[in-house]
């Protein structure tokens, strides 16, 4: 017998086999029911999946996600730094902002921004002795898309601020001290030393945030945000093919989320640099 390889009868996991069998049966039954349903209409799905206005909706959804995440993340860094500030007023203000925007449903916030005109009919900016610099009806300044971006990014700021704060706190204090000892200012230390290291902790949950955001954009359909969900709702509002069109939307969201997951992998690898030896040794 070959002394280097061990031959033994492996442990039989009967419980696992039984569990797997049950799952397979349930899955088969579910997909058969799905395909047997007269309302799924695969042909209709195919017909709408690449329609130009559906693709336009996909574009708007991506744009909303990107803009809200960029603004949200930028705001989150500011909020997180304020939350860690030595100044109690700044700390308190950041805390209150986060408290409010995390404490109210996103749907409520979206509708609020959509109907801002009901609260402030006109937006006016006037400076004493200089006069009125800006005066417009609110509905003109804050369009549906603007309201959607405002709502999504302010909400994102509040959530991401806590993620960023956690990331900043995860960086060893010795790093800040070493940077200070080199004569780096607090701002430079934050930007060049602390934040890049915090990124390693921040990126995975921010990947989740981006995926959640992509799907949350569907909520802006309540204020006619022109996104994928708004388009799909418009179509099935006319032809009553609700299920096939929801499947069209779901397929697009799934595809986009899959692309984001791949992107997340590469971004995580980029910011993990230096924390584990890259494969294949030194570069």
């Amino acid at each position: 017998m070959d002394p280097t390889s061990v031959r033994a009868v492996p442990v039989r996991h009967y419980g696992r086999w039984a569990g797997a069998a049950v799952l397979v049966v349930i899955a088969v039954l579910f997909f058969r029911a799905l395909l047997d349903s007269p309302n799924l209409e695969p042909a209709t799905i195919g017909q709408y999946l690449f329609k130009d206005y559906v693709l336009h909706g996909v574009g708007v959804t991506l744009l909303l996600t990107a803009v809200a995440m960029v603004l949200g993340t930028a705001g989150a860094v500011v909020l997180a730094v304020l939350r860690l500030s030595a100044n109690p007023v700044l700390r308190g203000g950041a805390w209150a902002f986060i408290w409010f925007f995390r404490g109210t449903p996103l749907l409520v916030q979206i509708i609020f921004w959509g109907f801002l005109g009901a609260l402030f009919p006109r937006i006016t900016l006037s400076v004493p002795f200089v006069g009125t610099l800006f005066d417009q009806p609110t509905s003109v300044v804050v369009s549906g898309t603007t309201a959607a971006i405002l709502a999504l990014s302010l909400n994102e700021m509040a959530y991401a601020a806590e993620i960023v704060r956690g990331g900043i706190l995860s960086v060893d204090r010795g790093q800040t001290e070493a940077a200070h000892a080199l004569g780096m200012s607090p701002a430079l230390t934050m930007r060049r030393i602390v934040l890049p290291q915090a990124m390693r902790v921040i990126i995975p949950p921010m990947g989740n945030e981006t995926i959640t955001m992509l799907k949350s954009t569907a909520l802006v359909s309540v204020i006619a945000g022109h996104d994928l969900m708004t388009v799909v709702q418009g179509v099935y509002g006319n032809n009553y093919k609700v299920i096939p069109l929801l499947v069209v939307a779901a397929l697009w969201y799934l595809a986009l989320v899959s692309v984001l997951s791949v992107a997340q992998f590469f971004v995580e690898r980029r910011f993990g640099r230096g924390f584990a030896a890259p494969r294949g040794g030194l570069r």
């Binding site: 060893d172 010795g174 790093q175 001290e177 070493a178 940077a179 200070h180 000892a181 080199l182 004569g183 780096m184 200012s185 607090p186 430079l188 060049r192 030393i193 890049p196 290291q197 910011f271 640099r273 230096g274 924390f275 584990a276 030896a277 030194l282 570069r283």
Partner: protein, 278 residues
Amino acid sequence: MSEPKGGAVSEPKGGAVNVPKGGAVSVPMVSAEGVRKRYGGHEVLCGVDLRIAPGEVCCLLGPSGSGKSTFLRCVNHLETVDGGSLRVDGALVGYVQRGDRLFELRPREVAARRREIGMVFQRFNLFPHLTALQNITEAPLRVLREPAGEVRERALALLERVGLADKAAAFPAQLSGGQQQRVAIARALAMRPKLMLFDEPTSALDPELVGDVLEVMRGLAADGMTMLVVTHEMGFAREVADTVAFLDGGRVVESGSPDEVLVNPRHERTRAFLSKVL
């Protein structure tokens, strides 16, 4: 009594720097008078007196918890002093005096003063997301805003000097402790400091890696760098130090030449400490 290494004016090292051409006595690089530091109710430093002349190497010894690290951190204002006066190259640390009133320095001004003081930590504290070369060039590029080519050249020369010319592209995680500490020394030197602080630079290292780091420090001392070194390496202290100060209970109990303090200590506490570490 033996001749103290750094004290005599005829000595080329330390002594010569002490008396500039004009004949006026130069300002000490570090001068501490009655420095106090409290954490909550616990007084860690209760009146530290210490003077380090330009070009002098001073080793600070003392039992664990005696306040060695705290004092070092006070010197570059990582900690604020509660009492007494602490000056580096004549300037009060953390404050500026106008008339007879003290004004706290702004963070930007504190940062500017720290540029002239290099610090090396027990745990290295290299920036893990930057390569060895980037660790060294970061501060000269961003703080001093020196031209990139020049900084890179200087950084490579420093890596060469600490014996790591081939490790420029390595990340800290790919270096041994001793190599990391030598990069950390190069990083501090890249700012061309006039004073170097070392806080137990070798005590986190495996014994066989200590030698390389001490060798680099020996070279620095030979080049006339002013150094304040907290260490338990008695061999280094005896060989390289101009003065040795023994800190205990938040006070400098005894200071003098290595021979005075290490060979013929006058105080009971110094003797007790030395009998434990030697």
